[in-house]
């Protein structure tokens, strides 16, 4: 009788613990999903800006068709990517194409002084920063989630409950600025 009672207590405790772990993981995963949604919105904004950018640049850069076409091509690929890894590759391609566009644009002072171009550049800078911040937030949340999934005690049940580690999202900076030297001590 006493043994049965002890087993019952152990089962109840185990079930309660399982529910706790499950709820915790669901919450963490929700934050990861939220973070990804943020990135998606900003990537879409990035894709929306590019046709305008190319259109404005076209008038000034008559002899740079190849550069402009590369940007368009990279944009098309980026809009078609679906998985995290695919998007990462396609967006990095797009960043590369945009970088060479801006490098070439340096040769055209009239284009750089164009009000439309300045406004577009501000919008693009802002969008790039938003992507960077959204990515930072997403990666932070992935780290938290993955740490929980991979460490004891949650790792004993996480795979069975259907919680697999999530992938990070890495993206090159358009501005090619050197990474800030930060130490959190």
């Amino acid at each position: 009788m006493a043994a049965l009672f002890i087993i019952l207590v152990i089962v109840v405790v185990a079930v309660l613990w399982l529910i706790g772990v499950y709820n915790g993981l669901v919450q963490l995963k929700m934050r990861v999903k939220n973070g990804w949604a943020q990135i998606d919105v900003q990537l879409k904004r990035r894709h929306d800006l590019i046709p305008n950018l190319v259109e404005t640049a076209k008038g000034y850069m008559k002899f740079e068709r190849e550069t402009l076409e590369n940007v368009i091509k990279a944009r098309t690929q980026a809009t078609q990517a679906t998985t995290v890894k695919d998007k990462e590759g396609a967006e990095n391609m797009l960043t590369g194409a945009l970088r060479s566009l801006f490098a070439v644009a340096e040769k055209y002072p009239d284009l750089k002084a164009n009000q439309n171009m300045l406004a577009l550049q501000e919008e693009l800078t802002s969008t790039e920063n938003k992507i960077a911040f959204a990515r930072q937030y997403y990666n932070d949340e992935v780290t938290r989630y993955n740490t929980t999934v991979k460490t004891f005690p949650a790792n004993t049940v996480a795979p069975a409950l259907g919680f697999a580690p999530e992938e990070f999202f890495e993206l090159k900076d358009l501005a090619e600025r050197e990474p800030p030297k930060v130490s959190f001590t």
């Binding site: 943020q38 009000q115 130490s183």
Partner: protein, 494 residues
């Protein structure tokens, strides 16, 4: 993020309870004191009849009920529209998205709000040339960040991002909520008090008889209001003791975590510490919501128990040292590394009106002097209109304020010379008579006759202003001269 929403909510209810209890105790003590004083006046009993006489349970309950009612009313009226009340007091306005600086600020706030996980943050701009920033949050969970024009025109994009990060950290950690509540409950009244002081003391210089008699009539009212405000201000001082200086260090740290750029934040703090932080006529009693106290005294720059207790902001030196430590840098390389934005020669960018036919443009406002259609320009980033024929500029009065707060233009020699010549002219001895202007200009926007006058007292630049729609007409070179002279007087060179 260091704080989750649950923790913020917990802190919020704690703040609400603590501040309300403070309010209640405060009013109870005041009411009890008043009651005792009244009894001493009106009863024949000796005031020293003993504590039993002074604190009978019945009276105690009545005094408590009065205190509760007053505290509740005070709480209710002060916290209804906290963000609107405070921003109105600061004369802060929503950003004008046609202005390049304001657009960039709006973008930067949106960017930082994403770093905090996507909470919506409103923005405001204060038309002051000082350098400061503030954050406010209300009971419903709305929050907003405000900056001055001076800050926008003198910080780089990454420095501005760092400052906005600092303010967003106050919002995300919930301490912007407690400072907003305290400023709404007490700071606003302290602000009124300081305003009265400034008017009554500041005006004593010009001894016109009329002013004295008006002053005497209001004096009686003012004395009563003044005494009440004085008591409330005392409460404000007490509450500021609870606003620890630690939260500024904490917000700096969170800002670095959000923007990953300790160098930009230390640069911004350094530039702010060297600039003038005034925000128009903003009184010190609202300083807790700002990144740095608008009227700095030696107190906030000193250390020790006394200043830790009474000052709401820590010394810049300590904040800079902590940040520079994070960036593995030092003050010397910070100073040499800061590149102040180079001043550009006056050159307004013509705004291209896409999709507008030439005919549509002809319908636009016309120059009041030569009748030509005005064209849209961007003057130091602000939207204005210019006559390409005579060089005159039309700007709304808030746009003019904005332009004057900015210091990114370098003025050509002829502007400098004509400004100096204007200052040396006998305009003080022979002031122009603005009462019988015969050639009033018609406002290009609304056709109303514009009034002529000085743009500001103390500077001889004459402008035409429409009092119906608020637009100002500057003849060729007048806006530049005004900017040049105001910049000079800001630097104490006039």
């Amino acid at each position: 993020m260091p704080y989750s929403f649950v923790e913020i909510e917990k802190e919020k209810t704690w703040v609400i309870k603590a501040v309300f209890v403070f309010l209640l105790v405060f009013y109870f003590l005041v009411a009890e004191l008043l009651w005792i004083v009244t009894r001493m006046f009106f009863s024949s009993q000796s005031p020293f009849a003993g504590p039993a006489q002074l604190f009978s349970p019945g009276e105690f309950v009545i005094v408590f009920a009065v205190a509760l009612a007053v505290a509740s009313l005070h709480w209710y009226y002060s916290t209804r529209n906290m963000i609107a009340d405070l921003t109105n007091l600061l004369d802060a306005r929503a950003p004008d998205l046609g202005d390049t600086y304001h657009k960039m600020f709006r973008n930067v706030v949106d960017e930082v709000s994403i770093a905090t996980g996507g909470r919506k943050i409103g923005c405001y701009v204060v038309p002051s040339s000082g350098m400061n920033a503030f954050a406010v949050s209300d009971l419903e969970g709305n929050s907003a960040i405000g900056v001055t024009e001076g800050l926008l025109s003198r910080l780089s994009r990454s420095q501005l991002e760092a400052v906005v990060g600092h303010e967003a950290a106050h919002i995300a950690s919930g301490d912007s909520f407690s400072t907003t509540v305290i400023c709404s409950l007490f700071g606003i009244y302290g602000a009124l008090l300081e305003g009265i002081n400034r008017i009554t003391l500041g005006r004593s210089g010009d001894s016109s008889k009329e002013r004295v008699s008006v002053g005497a009539r209001f004096g009686a009212y003012l004395l009563v209001v003044y005494l009440v405000l004085l008591v409330v201000k005392g409460a404000n001082h007490l509450l500021n003791m609870f606003i620890s200086r630690q939260r500024e260090y904490r917000a700096d740290a969170v800002a670095v975590r959000l923007t990953r750029d300790p160098v930009a934040l230390s640069e911004a703090l350094y530039l702010i510490s060297r600039g003038w932080r005034g925000v128009g006529v903003i009184p010190g009693s609202l300083s807790p919501i700002f990144i740095t106290a608008p009227d700095t005294d030696s107190l906030s720059e000193s250390e020790g128990i006394f200043s830790d207790l009474f000052s709401t902001h820590p010394p810049f030196k300590n904040r800079l040292n902590i940040l520079l430590d994070m960036a593995h840098s030092d003050l010397q390389s910070l100073k040499s590394g800061i590149r102040t934005a180079p001043k550009t020669v006056v050159e307004e960018e013509p705004v291209e009106l896409e999709g507008l036919s030439v005919d549509a443009r002809r319908g636009g406002p016309f120059c009041p002097k030569c009748g030509q259609a005005l064209s849209e320009i961007s003057y130091e980033g602000a939207p204005a209109m210019k006559c390409r024929f005579c060089g005159g500029v039309l700007a709304a009065s808030d746009v003019a304020t904005r332009i004057i707060a900015r210091e990114n233009y370098l003025f050509p020699g002829e502007i400098r010379e004509s400004s100096e010549a204007l200052m040396k002219s006998h305009w003080r001895e022979n002031p122009p008579n603005f009462f019988n202007v015969t050639d009033k200009l018609a406002c290009p926007r609304c056709r109303e006759a514009m009034e002529r006058g000085f743009f500001t007292y103390g500077l001889p630049v004459i402008i035409d202003k429409c009092f119906k729609c608020g637009n100002i007409w500057f003849d060729k070179g007048e806006l530049e001269m005004l900017q040049y002279l105001i910049e000079k007087s800001r630097n104490g060179e006039l």
